[in-house]
């Protein structure tokens, strides 16, 4: 069994030169299990025990293999404002082209990310001096690579035991099981969303049909007048469908605008997180659902128009 390393990501440009300082960023923070190296050595247990004052070993992505060499040292600024400080790094390994890692945040969706443009450090400098809670939160996903999958039950048992000793209850799963759970959850989410969506479509349908029928009933006399002066049932039906379309399309536009506004204003910590849900395909789907609502909700009102007997409409005033 090999314990996975933690990875820091540096904001730096592919063309950066080695004597420039880098600002360390913790906006993207990931965990990994295994790297394939082109040159140099992997990170080891001792590397994880170094302090911020020590020279910290680092692996560089293939994209920088012509910029840095094994043994090169550089400084990166860690922390912000008054708390900022420099940490010195030493390149100990160069990652193979196309080396990949697992991402704690999105490994289920985007199974592995290429590391060509990444630097890999054993920890964040801030983390080293940070509070235990921050470290615990950052360590909420830890990947372990087993040399043999038969070891899994044993490892799981050990982790659970250690967790209990520490008063925590970790979930231990293989990635394939996690994938299955994720897929099942996704299916359930889709089913739930569909159920809720269908419920609202049904409510909308009933609402629109009721409003339209009431509107026709309330305007029977006016409809009669129109027919007396030459409008056919077809003309009246077309008018009803036009009115329905106006209601449904206006509602759809307002709904989309409200949803878009809600999404735009959604904040997660200090970052604007956009769900990226508003795509052309979504607009097409909304149009299709709107047309469906118009079509279905037209049927009963149109039937009621067809049932109108002109002789009864204008009698009695």
């Amino acid at each position: 069994m090999k314990i996975g390393n933690r990875v820091a990501h540096f904001l730096c440009d592919r063309t950066v030169e080695k004597w420039l300082n880098f600002r360390l960023s913790n906006t993207i923070y990931r965990l990994f299990s295994k790297f394939q190296l082109l040159k140099g050595r992997k990170l080891n247990k001792k590397d994880f025990e170094k302090t911020n004052k020590d020279v910290i070993p680092i692996l560089i992505g293939y994209g920088y293999h012509n910029v840095f060499h094994i043994g090169d040292r550089f400084q990166a600024l860690a922390g912000l404002g008054e708390n900022a400080f420099f940490v010195t790094y030493e390149v100990v390994g160069i990652l193979e082209k196309g080396a990949k890692w697992l991402s704690a945040n999105d490994y289920l969706i985007d199974y592995a990310n290429e590391l060509d443009r990444f630097f890999v450090a054993p920890y964040f400098p801030e983390e080293r001096d940070g509070r235990a809670m921050d470290v615990a939160v950052r360590l909420n996903n830890l990947f372990l690579q087993l040399s043999d999958k038969k070891d899994f039950p044993y490892v799981k048992k050990i982790i659970k035991q250690k967790g209990q000793e520490l008063g925590i209850y970790p979930t231990v799963k293989t990635i394939s099981n996690e994938m299955k759970d994720y897929q099942n959850n996704t299916k359930q989410s889709v089913r739930f969303t569909l159920t809720v969506g269908l419920f609202f479509v049904a409510v909308t349908l009933i609402g629109v049909i009721s409003v339209t029928i009431s509107s026709i009933q309330a305007r029977k006399y006016d409809i009669g007048v129109m027919m007396v002066t030459g409008a056919s049932k077809h003309d009246i039906g077309r008018m009803v469908v036009m009115e329905l379309s106006l209601i449904v399309v206006t509602s759809a536009i307002i709904g989309v605008m409200l949803s878009y506004w809600t999404e735009w204003n959604n904040t997660f910590f200090e970052h604007n997180i956009r769900l990226q849900a508003f795509t052309w395909s979504l607009y097409v789907k909304i149009m299709v659902v709107s047309c469906f609502i118009i079509l279905i909700s037209s049927l009963i009102p149109l039937w009621s128009v067809n049932k109108l007997a002109l002789r009864n409409l204008v009698e009695g005033g």
């Binding site: 006399y221 006016d222 009669g224 007048v225 129109m226 027919m227 007396v228 002066t229 030459g230 409008a231 056919s232 049932k233 077809h234 003309d235 007997a309 002109l310 002789r311 204008v314 009698e315 009695g316 005033g317």
Partner: protein, 228 residues
């Protein structure tokens, strides 16, 4: 023959609920006639007018308008006839209550693909003719009964159809307004239009040159003025 009904029967309802509103009615009307249809309530007057006005179709028999059998036409064809050949005046005016006077009078022209300018000129001409031009922007709900009936007559005139059907046109009006309405109908008749009026009132019927008396869905009397 302008209007011809042959053995027209109209039955409402089915089986034990069936009611015969018209029974084997045969009638011939020439262009330019002024006809009053009279009879007690339930005698079939309105049913006859509805059939002549293509608002209803006979259960049996044949109805020919300008020589063309309209008995089995579909809704669209009937609506075209209503628009181009027939005009209606009702006791309760049959006006769009949320529309203005102008918009109400304009209604029959909307289906004729007429240019807006031409439509406006035509509507304004008839509004002037009936002395209600000043009311053109007023909402119908703001008008008196007499004014409403004038609007209905203007709408019938603007359509420039050869047949005007009036169902108790003076029923909701006072004597003076009723008289004015009948004078307008008489004027339209003098211009060559065929006027068919349903009425209970002998005085109103006296404006017509032919009187048809209906009872129990049958024509009991068909009398022309001056003919014994």
């Amino acid at each position: 023959m302008f209007i011809e009904l042959q053995n027209v029967t109209k039955i409402y309802g089915k089986d034990e609920y069936a009611t015969k509103a018209l029974n084997q009615v045969s009638l011939q009307i020439e262009q330019g006639e002024f006809i009053a249809i009279m009879g007690p309530s339930g005698s079939g007057k309105s049913t006859l007018l509805n059939i002549i006005g293509c608002m209803d179709v006979p259960t049996e028999g044949v109805y020919r308008l300008e020589g063309k059998d309209v008995t089995n036409l579909n809704d669209k064809q009937l609506s075209d006839i209503r628009n181009k050949k027939l005009s209606f005046i009702f006791q309760h005016f049959a006006l769009m209550t949320n529309f203005t006077v102008f918009e109400n009078v304009e209604l029959p022209l909307l289906k004729r693909n007429m240019q807006k300018k031409l439509r406006r000129e035509k509507v304004e001409y008839y509004l002037n003719k009936l002395g209600i031009f000043h009311l053109r922007q007023k909402n119908i709900s703001k008008l008196s009964g007499g004014q409403k009936q004038r609007v209905a007559i203007a709408r019938a005139m603007v359509a420039e159809t050869d047949i005007v059907l009036a169902d108790e046109p003076t029923g909701s009006l006072d004597r003076q307004n009723g008289q004015q309405v009948m004078e307008l109908l008489q004027q339209m008749n003098e211009e060559g239009k065929c006027i068919i009026v349903i009425t209970h009132d002998e005085k109103i019927a006296s404006y017509a040159n032919r009187m048809i008396y209906l009872s129990d869905g049958c024509i009991q009397l068909d009398k022309r003025k001056g003919v014994v």
